[in-house]
């Protein structure tokens, strides 16, 4: 009996000692405020897309997106939204050599995104990004209708125009309310992105079929503006920025709601036309080891892959790597498995 108690006590001690794993993760690194948990959580999010099984992959992806939203809001405080990440990356780079732990902290999110994109492809967009997840979840409401429109080449629709006008009215009304009741700063520039988004919606209602590809060039401009602002130390807030900040940020709340509403009118409209990170990730993933490849012999041109793609990255069984979010819906929906995930690990010379 004594030995049993002794063994139980031993087991209990070991279990308690394991709590140290969590405890240590919640402690600041080298006395700083940088918590290991932030980096660990980020790493976990990035690894999941690679390790999940093919069976029920889309369910895992949804779970990862929801987990990502929670992790980003409650753990990864340095994210600060799509614009803030670029600003913080610049800050982190400038801290290297002075405050290396702080530099690690601020560089960890963008470095993880870029490095995982370089290796595994743009999985951040399809599996983790909270802004993308928000649009995808909202877009499910009219998903079937949008798929029908896509098949017909995005023709003009009065219903779509009414929706775009409703979004415009909400933007203007909200702006009128905020300008009368809140103090705004020049730095609250996310309202201008919201405005551009609203104008884009109106343009897309008329000419989405013809101008879709060319309008995606706007991402380059968006990226250039944000990088220039970061180098000039301008604080420009972005959609979902408020979720990572301690203070109420009315401009960011407005921009987030606008992105969500706009995704009802045009699926993934932010990712397609304005997200600066999308451009950087596409560049980083250009030579990634994991990529989608189509076997023309197997392709029956059924169009299911293009049908399920939320960002119109697939056409005639072929995947455009610059637009692909690596959500793998096309792979999972291909009846002949013509589209497959290829891993091109080159051996060391």
């Amino acid at each position: 009996m004594a030995s049993l108690f002794s063994r139980l006590g031993d087991l209990f001690e070991r279990a308690v000692a394991n709590l140290k794993v969590l405890d240590q993760a919640l402690n600041g690194l080298e006395g700083s405020y940088v918590e290991l948990l932030t980096v660990l959580a980020l790493g976990l999010l990035a690894v999941i897309p690679v390790i999940v099984p093919e069976r029920h992959r889309q369910r895992y992806r949804l779970a990862n997106q929801l987990f990502g939203i929670a992790i980003f809001i409650f753990v990864i405080y340095t994210c600060l939204g799509v614009f803030g990440m670029i600003r913080n990356f610049h800050r982190g780079l400038s801290e290297i050599g002075r405050e290396n732990i702080v530099a690690l902290y601020y560089c960890s999110v963008p470095a993880t995104i870029l490095v995982t994109s370089m290796i595994f492809g743009p999985t951040f967009c399809g599996w983790i990004c909270p802004t993308g997840a928000l649009q995808e979840l909202i877009g499910r409401i009219f998903g079937r209708w949008h798929r029908g429109r896509k098949r017909c080449g995005h023709p003009f629709s009065w219903k779509l125009l009414a929706m775009a006008l409703a979004v415009t009215a909400i933007f203007l009304g909200w702006m009128a309310y905020l300008s009368a009741t809140r103090v705004f700063f020049v730095e609250d520039a996310s309202i201008y992105w919201s405005e551009v988004l609203v104008i884009l919606l109106l343009v897309l209602v008329w000419r989405m079929g013809a101008w879709d590809a060319r309008l995606r060039r706007l991402r380059v401009l968006s990226f250039a503006i944000i990088v220039a602002a970061a180098i000039a130390s301008l604080r420009i807030t972005s959609p979902v920025h408020f979720g990572f900040n301690k203070v109420y940020d009315p401009a960011s709340v407005l921009a987030t709601v606008m992105v969500a509403l706009a995704a009802l009118v045009v699926p993934h409209v932010w990712c397609r036309y304005l997200c600066p990170w999308r451009e950087a990730i596409a560049w980083a993933a250009k030579h990634s080891a994991r990529r989608l490849a189509t076997d023309p012999a197997k392709c029956t041109h059924c169009g299911k892959c293009a049908d399920v793609c939320g960002v119109d990255a697939v056409a005639d069984g072929k995947v455009d790597p610059r637009e692909c979010h690596m959500c793998l819906k096309c792979v999972d929906n291909c009846p002949t498995k013509a589209i497959a995930l290829k891993e091109d690990w080159k051996p060391m010379p």
Binding site: G28, G31, S32, Y33, Y77, T78, R151, C152, G153, M175, S179, A180, T181, R182, V183, F184, F185, V186, E187, I191, Y192, E195, V196, I199, V203, G209, W211, D212, A213, R214, L215, R216, R217, L218, L221, K246, V247, Y248, D249, H301, G303, A306, D312, A315, D316, K318, D320, R322
Partner: protein, 524 residues
Amino acid sequence: MYSVSSVVCLISVVAVGAEATDWPSFRNGPANAAACRWSPTTPDEAVREWSFRGRPGTRYRPGVTAWASPALTVVAGRPMAFIGGFDQTMHALDLLSKEERWAKITGGPIAESPAVGLVDGEAVVFWGSADRHVYACYADSRGAGDGRKLWSPRELIPATSTMSEAQLSAPLLHRGTLYISCFAYDRAMGRSEQQGWLVALDMQTGRELWRRAAAPGMLSSPTGAEVDGRFTVFLAARRGLLQAFDVSGSAPRPLWHYQMPHEVLGSPAIDADPASPRVFLGSKFGNLIALDARTGKELWKRMAGNWIDNSACVGEVNGVRAVFAGSHDYNLWAFRASDGQVLWKRPLGGEVYSAPAYFRGGEGRGAGDGKEEDDGGEDSDSASPPAPRPSPQSLLAVAALDNHLYVLEADTGRVVTSYFTGKPMWDKVAKGEVLWGSPAALEAGSETALVHGSFNGEVYVMPLDGECGLRTKVQSAATLWWGLAVTAALFVGVVLPAVLWGTRARSPQRARRGAEDASSKVRR
């Protein structure tokens, strides 16, 4: 009725108007105006923008504050700021030469403002530290790197091995006596010490004159005022008990007490009108309560939309005595002191966490010459050009959790200017656990400046009228809409045509594929 109040106000303003060599309580007097008068002797003397950083930061824990509120005085003709904080050090900053004159390290964080009083004609800085001691150093300690001591640090609470850090308030100085409250929680079951004390020390020697158990738990900084010829100390306990003590005699005599409806973090503000002295105190219930300073009888109470967790201050709005309080509902409120009527409320960009500073400044340069734009709030007409301001005029300074410090007109609540004072140095901070430092004003006509210990670890000195890189551009409603219109015009007129220019899409193969795909689906 107003004439008496106006005279009292004038007296108080004039009292502040003389060049100040002392700062007798945490916000410089019962009205909590937090302003100090200074007259430059030569035209070259000007307070320029400056930021000072103390020792490196510490890990965040609830209750820690970056900087306490500063005390400003004029020492040997030079404006100086005394400020302590989490770096456990009291810093004496020369605002003219932009240098630290001396620094005194203590054994614990300094959470509250110091007080400056005259001892034998010489200014002495008094402060309490979490190491349970009260310190006294000469304000003019040139040549002594860590301050010239008036007396050795006086221990207020005997140490035990189970005692937590002590909470010592800002001192209150009056006629040679220093009043200070203290609290330290001893978690040992045998002692279970949870009592908060009000202690009186002799300013000259540091000898303890008396101590009185005030209330269990943490206590606010004491505020004092002459009420019917008796010097009365007002003290609020964190758990909401507001007490008044007559300290005219050799021992304190309780006068009255009042139980607030919720937790109180701030200290009372006093309108020392001889005809009807009033005490004002806000709580985390969100209400501001006015009491008769003589009897403790409730005069009025008003609700804000959220916590009022810092102290109020008393000033004037268009010749009417007013009390100003910031709230976590994003507003700075101005109430009429006599009956609590709302004179104005000004929405700002974030929760107003600081106590307001009430001062006179901005003699027609910068702030009033149209450089800053109207913020388009509910009490102003954004369409009209900025009206010429009388000079000098009454202003308020408050800090908000949107990381900005605002300067507003006391009469209307119009935002005159604002400064970006940085984000908290910690990524996660709890609201309502601690009073962050509040701004103080150096009144010097056109050289008026604000001093604020920000929660980003910097102490900022910000000229009101002169050049200041921290100044932010608050957008008026008109500017905001013009900005949106210009952005729309640029986007539609320049960006869109540039993006759509040319017949070739970025990826011609892709466009062709898309077209074929669309046509094949149409056929199907």
